[in-house]
């Protein structure tokens, strides 16, 4: 009774929640006027939102298997879209994407195309069929379609490797934001972040994660869009930035040729003592690099990100939670709609931020002005003090040139409100948004790994007689173990955010993409083929990564396929091996072929029972 009511009341519940969040923002703005310090506002923003998520997590607790694994399969289309969008948009999307565009320009924007186009593959090739299958996890599909524990086990290995690479970066991001907002050391921030993440997922599994992710989406999109619109209006760039920044983009092109895009020599950067990870602008904002190789690099990166999207289990499993196959398809469309709201705004934020900084005619511009004068500016000082920005006067003329201003990519999102002179309440809001983005993705990932281990390894392989209580106990224990492992690795600071994120896509596509789609689209695909494909794909992809990555063997990439794109090698090998081995082995039995036929039509019962 309560359940039905809850679902029907969702628009009201989240409407009230959004209203409450706006009231909180206004209260903070008033408090700022009344003299509350910036530090307190930051703490309140992060603490308040995290408490709300924890309450939602507690209210969604459950003791039922299907509620824990697939949220009872009753998440409405639009809400599942919001939850997927939060699941998808990581700390990297929120904090680092605008910065990536700021420094990488058009070339970097291959990520935007890649991280959205993948959903076309999800909707047309996978999501509706996996929903019809009725699995709890992605390896559940592989294990049932191909049969046998070993196929299931291989899928779990790929899933764990891909998701774990991704999750350390997310916990890292929660740690960074928590440490900055709460003024605590990074190592402590990581564990605070982890506790917040577990509060959302432990008691209610997928059900709790779903309802917190919807809440987190609302916070993160509000936190991203308010500054973009506010800055654009305040500085007079246009009322609706997405449609009105054409002139500014053209102006950036003119400024680039006026200042010259100088790529600093590595030796100069080292000699000047520029802190690691800081960059200067050396690439054109909207210009397209000439030549076939540049176009291939753009396209190959987009390809890896798209195919990787369609293989990442924490995304695919969101579509197991819809009430029907039809709803699963529609839900993919809504997911991408909600993602697009942020992704189309990131280039606008990058443009606004860049023009504010480098246009000498604007009051906020710093390029071309005396360095002594710039050092007096409060925000410049603050970011230089924490080693997020740096000035190196290479030519010694005392004037700041374009290639002499260094900063970290994250600063674009975190500092632009301050640069544009927005009140501090906006910076607090941005911190809460970044925290929401990183937490929601981390939750989805940790749950994907823990569910695969508890359902596919523990229940399906080790102890098929375990009762519900024991299964859920194991699932929760694994959640803590995996979270702690991720936090431990993050606290050692061994990965940079973006490298690791792109790798997760490559690992996933190397091992899972073809076994998943051929499982639906090719009846002839056999168990032996799938197993051989997963092993060969993952092994060849990983071997190639070790071969090209500068910190490992560092060989010259073949055809421009570098460490961000190694999935192309892995997935190709996987496809060839899977097809050849499938054709060499006996075709799947009648029952399996019938199962595939059933998966292909939406009507009728799911292949796996409601509770399994």
């Amino acid at each position: 009774m309560f359940k039905g009511n809850f679902i029907d009341n969702l628009p009201k519940i989240y409407g009230t929640y959004t209203g409450g969040f706006f009231i909180f923002i206004i209260l903070m703005a008033i408090a700022e006027q009344a003299g509350m310090t910036a530090k307190t506002i930051g703490i309140l923003f992060v603490a308040f939102t995290v408490c709300i998520y924890a309450i939602i997590g507690y209210l969604s607790r459950t003791v039922q298997v299907d509620a824990y694994y697939v949220a009872g399969r009753q998440v409405p289309t639009v809400f599942n879209g919001m939850a997927t969008a939060a699941d998808w948009m990581s700390g990297a999307s929120f904090v680092a994407m605008a910065g990536g565009i700021y420094f990488g320009g058009y070339t970097y924007m291959a990520f935007l195309v890649g991280w959205t186009g993948g959903y076309v593959l999800v909707s047309s090739l996978l999501a509706p069929y996996l929903r019809k299958f009725g699995c709890y996890t992605v390896p559940d599909f592989i294990g049932t379609r191909y049969g046998g524990n070993f196929a299931r086990f291989c899928a779990v290995v790929v899933l764990t490797l891909a998701s774990f690479t991704y999750v350390t970066a997310q916990i890292n991001a929660t740690g960074t934001i928590a440490s900055r907002a709460l003024s605590i050391p990074f190592e402590l921030g990581v564990w605070v972040g982890l506790v917040s993440i577990l509060l959302c997922s432990m008691l209610g599994g997928m059900r709790a994660v779903t309802w917190t992710q919807v809440a987190q989406y609302i916070v993160l999109i509000v936190a991203y869009l308010i500054p973009v619109f506010w800055i654009s209006n305040k500085a007079g760039f246009g009322f609706f930035p997405h449609f009105m920044l054409g002139e500014e983009v053209a102006r950036l092109g003119a400024l680039e040729s006026q200042f010259g895009l100088v790529k600093n020599a590595a030796a100069d950067i080292k000699a000047a003592g520029v802190p690691g990870g800081l960059k200067s602008i050396a690439v054109s904002h909207a210009g397209v690099p000439e030549g076939g190789m540049a176009a291939w690099k753009f396209i190959s990166l987009a390809l890896c990100m798209m195919v990787g999207t369609a293989s990442l289990p924490h995304i695919l499993m969101r579509y197991f939670t819809t009430p029907s196959v039809k709803a699963a398809r529609k839900s993919v469309a809504w997911s991408l709609f909600f993602i697009a709201l942020l992704y189309t705004s990131a280039p606008m934020l990058a443009t606004l931020s860049k023009i504010s900084l480098i246009d000498p005619n604007l009051p906020t511009g710093i390029i071309g002005k005396p360095i002594a004068e710039i050092m007096q500016i409060e925000w410049v000082n603050a970011w230089i003090n924490v080693k997020q920005a740096f000035i190196a006067d290479f030519n010694g003329d005392g004037i700041l040139q374009l290639n002499e201003w260094f900063m970290r990519g994250d600063v674009v999102v975190l500092a632009t409100p301050e640069v544009a002179g927005l009140p501090y309440v906006i910076s607090g809001l941005v911190a809460a948004g970044g925290m929401a983005a990183a937490m929601s993705t981390a939750d989805g990932l940790i749950l994907a790994i823990a569910n695969a281990l508890s359902h596919d390894i523990y229940y399906k392989i080790i102890d098929p007689k375990a009762d519900v209580r024991k299964r859920l106990l194991v699932a929760r224990a694994l959640l803590i173990v995996i979270g702690a492992a991720g936090a431990y690795i993050a606290s050692m600071r061994i990965t940079s955010i973006l490298g690791a994120v792109a790798w997760a896509f490559d690992f996933a596509m190397s091992g899972l993409f073809f076994p998943l789609i051929l499982g639906v689209w090719w009846k002839r695909a056999t168990r032996q083929g799938a197993i051989a494909g997963m092993i060969a794909g993952l092994a060849s992809g990983t071997a190639y990564l070790i071969y090209v990555y500068p910190k490992f063997m560092g060989n010259a990439p073949w055809l421009g396929i570098d460490h961000l794109r190694f999935g192309i090698i892995g997935a190709s090998v996987c496809l060839v091996v899977m097809v050849v081995v499938s054709l060499m082995t006996e075709e799947p039995d009648k029952a399996t072929q019938q199962m595939v036929d059933e998966v292909r039509v939406p009507s009728g019962k799911t292949i796996l029972g409601k509770q399994h």
């Binding site: 935007l112 186009g117 909707s123 176009a295 396209i299 987009a302 039809k326 039509v601 009507s603």
Partner: protein, 85 residues
């Protein structure tokens, strides 16, 4: 051909059309990025616009269109889910 086979033929056809459109907006236009950039749209250089907004919007519209078409195909062959499923 059985009803199921016909349904699957049509489904495959829709999948292929969807992926062709996806290929055009995801890859084909970016093979000619520098040529595209010589023209402009709403004041933005065209290739820049396509990756900042154009292709993303195209993907959103494409998936909504695909979902509606597939629903029609399911209806045509009587494979629509019952509400109480």
């Amino acid at each position: 051909m059985s009803n199921k086979e016909k349904h699957w033929e049509k489904t495959k056809g829709l999948m292929i059309i969807t992926l062709i459109i996806w290929f055009v907006f995801g890859y084909l236009i970016f093979m000619f990025g520098s040529d595209l950039n010589t023209s402009s749209f709403m004041g933005y250089p065209l290739a820049y616009y396509m990756c900042a907004q154009g292709s993303i919007i195209a993907f959103v519209v494409l998936i909504f269109w695909f979902a509606n078409r597939q629903e029609k195909i399911d209806e045509e062959f009587g494979f629509t889910e019952k509400e109480d499923d």
